[in-house]
Symmetry: C2
Subunit: 210 residues, 2 copies
């Protein structure tokens, strides 16, 4: 089972690495990080580079595609090589997936028309401009199209997907293996829970970090 994770300049590291840590542990999974060029790709915060081991051309027909989000997503909204690759890959994928604002790239490529999808809460309404129906859920399945909310939601998406591809027992074993028994010190993971002040602070940063 070949899984292609798209990397691009200013991707959010955890969007890609959360699912990698889960899906990469399913039996038979072969994850390849792909980019327009092979080589190191700088993430949005700037102090970490992830390596794209292959070019898009080298991985034309993966079983699963995963598009992470990140501020760099804004440079992938125009039609071009990445959209062509996504559309071509989608013709043969079992699952076409995205985390956070990665779903906007899938939508802009025309792959979420008429479908329910989610994204980072700051950007979720933007899905509508591309013909998708925004859903305020953490993980959304619509046929073979799977999308997750912001950043950390990719871990929950990947566990759900691992259960579909490798069985529930395997998903539970992976969860125990990565000790994913979350206990955040605060209950502020959504704008509703964090409150209007934090919500407005983050919305004001919409074009800067999301």
């Amino acid at each position: 089972m070949q899984i292609a994770v798209l990397l691009y300049d200013r991707v959010t590291a955890l969007d890609a690495v959360g699912p990698y840590e889960v899906l990469g542990r399913t039996p038979g999974a072969e994850i390849t990080f792909v980019g327009a060029q092979a080589g190191p790709v700088r993430t949005d915060i700037g102090s970490l580079a992830l390596t794209a081991d292959a070019t898009l051309d080298e991985v034309p027909s993966p079983d699963i595609v995963l598009v992470p989000g990140g501020i760099g997503q804004q440079q992938l909204m125009a039609d071009g090589r990445v959209h062509e690759w996504l559309r071509a890959a989608d013709t043969t994928t079992t699952w076409t997936t995205a985390v956070c604002t990665g779903s906007l790239v899938l939508a802009a490529a025309g792959l979420l028309k008429g479908r329910r999808a989610t994204s980072h809460w700051v950007r979720r309404p933007d899905l509508e401009q591309h013909g998708a129906t925004p859903c305020a859920e953490r993980v959304v399945f619509d046929g073979k199209y799977v999308t997750a909310g912001g950043v950390s939601a990719g871990i929950d998406m990947a566990l759900t997907l691992a259960a579909r591809t490798a069985g529930e027992d395997m998903a539970r074993a992976i969860q125990c293996g990565i000790e994913y028994d979350p206990h955040p010190p605060y209950d502020a993971g959504t704008p509703e829970k964090a409150g209007p002040e934090i919500r407005d602070q983050l919305l004001a940063l919409k074009d800067v970090i999301f």
Copy 2:
């Protein structure tokens, strides 16, 4: 505030990237991924390389040290350059931290003697061999020494630490920004919750993946 994250061959990606995504968003944080050599470092699953931007010598006195875990930790248990760097850095750090089996490296370097600490649940008892007191908690603070359980626990540790370094409001804003409102599809994040069958399966892999 300089934060040094140690990379080494066969590190677990999420151990490093979870805290990076949180601490890297605190104001004034400057995270540097460091390694014995600079350059790409292959993670344990094998299909992702993270880049060490600096050598240990180039970052001698960070404010925070973070040691992630991963099967490669077993090659860091003997005294040597990494231990020397950790001990020297520790003389000036505000916080000396580890995620997952990274705490065994701190302990082997002599930094957790007589202190309460945690680690990945599979390896937690091993802390005792190095003079630390193993605690079955997700995040353990003992003075300036902070340790987290397996892999994903680094996110909870980093949010707790972000509150100490940048205030609770900032920690809550970061939590909302990375939409960390976890809803795993299963409740199997600890061996107690996953049950004896999964626990024994994972314990049998102790020397292979943990």
